[in-house]
Amino acid sequence: MNKVYVKIAFALVVASILLAGCVSTGGESGVASEKITIEIVQGKVEFAKQFESLAESYEEENPGVDIKITSVGGGTDYLTSLKTRFSSGEEPEIFSIAGPSEAEQFRQYLTDLSDTDAADLALEGSLAGVTEGDEVLGLPFNQEGYGFIYNKNIFEQAGIDPNEIITYGDLENAVKTLDSKKEELGIEAVFAYPAKEKWVGGNHLSNVYLAPEFNHNVTEAYNADTVTFEKSDELKRVFDLQNEYSVQPTLSLDYSQQVEEYFSLQKVAIIQQGNWVYPSVQEMDPEFAANSIGILPIPVEGYEGSIPVGIPNYWAVNSNSDEEVIEVSKDFLDWMYTSETGKDYVLNEFNFIPAYEGYDTEKISDPLSQDIYDYASEGNTIGWVFAGYPSNAWGDILGANMQKYLSDEMTWEELIEDSIAKWEEPRQ
């Protein structure tokens, strides 16, 4: 008989634990009402720790504000969890969005931020993806750029001056020289091209050759009914060049092999990547990272010497909050990008390339970011239009087609034809 009571008691304990879950959430919101709580959900995990300590400094200066930060792993996972938060009613006050497609999905929740100081100070063109008429719906995180990252030591040994590589012809010659001296330079191949990563070809490489037809404007790309691939031949030859002179087989080569195994260990001379690889290279070999890497533009006829620079993420403020909360949220974003403490964090702790005026850009810490900032400030940029590709993950579709082309499942003409059709499909 005793056993029965024990079991009932156990069942009650289990039930009470289940119920306790419900009670505690109710209690929390009661306590929080004294302070203004700002919940931030953002999708860039690389700087999560530093961002949290920045938020702590803000809390010290503003004791009435409590900031809670959730950082979710890059790409698709972030959007999933953000949507979950919204559909379950646990809406954050500040969240990050990546370009016009996400801005449209969350349109009903976006506050106009045009009255913030940060919006005034944002670099020209950096708000293009999130501007709607007079309204500014997001504030840029930072700038990012990509191109051919090369190993200065290897170039020097091979007697190649990177400053002289301007046109496609120059690049091809340099690649052939490097290839002929592979043994003495101690490299496995000239490139490491990660065809396994669909975004490297489908988003980044294609962006360089598609941006001119959309006038380098992400919004124009976002509204375009079709794509013409004017520079299809140029895209093909750079793609072929990278694939031919790459470590083989490219189809199973991934990002981490490309950056860590091959480039950081100096087994290849050039990789097509952006300034985001810097921390990884630094971790593998700090000295090499600091002194011996540089970035070259991907040659596009008519735009030689220009580098694609863009805004990967924007901050958005939830319009569904109380007026007071919205004001505090705006103030926090302003403080982050315009106060001295905030600026210091942005440059030195986050290692961002600032997207705002008024920064001491001499202090940009890594050479890749410095190079990219120089290109950007001289106006030598190519648009960042891939954030405006169709929402059926068009970049991935193009990337998959490029993989088919490499496996001889598709000719280049079929690739172009199919990719155009897939662009038009969701935009009818």
């Binding site: 069942a11 559909s87 669909k198 189809l251 929402s391 993950a393 496996s407």
Partner: protein
């Protein structure tokens, strides 16, 4: 019926509560959303069966389904052969049999995601190095073609699941009455005859269990697929679960993906129900 008193329901409540909150209610929600144009945030129009009609015309979904079926058939056959061999090995009177059982079962305890990355390294780097050293060209370029990707997945699944299937076979092998074995030995049966006529028929029920178990597991594989090939090259090694996730979260067609999910559920449910039905029948037979 008599025992369905207050205590009966009291004990059941936590489970019913949990199950309905986590499984039943979301499932009903999902079923409803699959008939709308839900995009993850809001649903505006009711579409009826449009998503379901579109789904059968979706080439990528059909390709993924076909790939999954091929994969399941290959891995079910190999898994059961391998599981039975391992079980026969460790039920012999070897000193190391307990140790071996643990070793064979261990891969099953490692998460699929990590296994995928480990095997990716083996296929891409180790295979390539061995191939270059021994001059075997077939070992180079693994995971860069559809075929090697397919076999890569099969090998990974077999390596992971074989230990589990082995346990099931061990249970049946140990239940074979010793008298039968002894009697056959006295009658002068060779070890092959003994296996063919005594062991095999007596472990046949284990085969049914293992078959359905492996079938439904191989159908639902996602993590190994994601970390080993990520669908590449050109999405040709993409299985159904992965295709659904991609439709939902990359292509942002939540409702459409939900419809695919419902179809996927039906397929797995049919397999599972058949399994339960057969198992019950077997139990009666014995």
């Amino acid at each position: 019926m008599k025992n369905r008193d207050f205590t009966f329901w009291l004990f059941l409540t936590p489970v019913i509560l949990g199950l309905s909150l986590v499984v039943v209610i979301p499932f009903i929600y999902g079923l409803f959303y699959s008939f709308t144009d839900w995009n993850g945030i809001k649903a505006t129009t009711f579409l009826g069966f449009e998503n379901y009609i579109k789904l059968f015309q979706d080439e990528e979904f059909r390709a993924a389904l076909w790939f999954t079926i091929k994969f399941s058939v290959a891995s079910v056959i190999l898994l059961n052969i391998l599981g039975l061999i391992l079980a026969l090995l460790v039920t012999r009177k070897l000193k190391s049999s307990n140790f071996l059982r643990t070793i064979f079962f261990m891969p099953n305890l490692i998460g699929g995601l990590i296994l995928g990355f480990i095997w990716q390294f083996i296929f891409v780097s180790v295979f390539d190095d061995i191939g270059t050293a021994l001059g075997i060209e077939a070992l180079s370029g693994w995971l860069s073609t559809t075929n090697t990707g397919f076999w890569g997945l099969v090998i990974l699944t077999c390596w992971q699941m074989a230990g589990y299937i082995m346990i099931i076979y061990i249970a049946y092998l140990q239940n074979i009455p010793n008298e039968l074995i002894e009697a056959s030995q006295i009658d002068g049966a060779s070890s092959w005859q003994r296996f063919r006529n005594i062991t095999f028929p007596l472990v046949a029920p284990a085969f049914t269990i293992s078959m359905f178990l492996t079938l439904s597991t191989s159908f639902k594989i996602y993590d190994q697929n994601l970390s080993l090939t990520n669908g590449g090259p050109y999405n040709s090694t993409q299985m159904v679960a992965m295709e659904i996730v991609k439709t939902a979260f990359n292509e942002n067609q939540m409702a459409f993906a939900q419809a695919k999910g419902v179809i996927f559920f039906l397929i797995v449910a049919v397999i599972a129900i058949t399994q339960v039905y057969y198992n019950k029948k077997r139990e009666v037979d014995m």
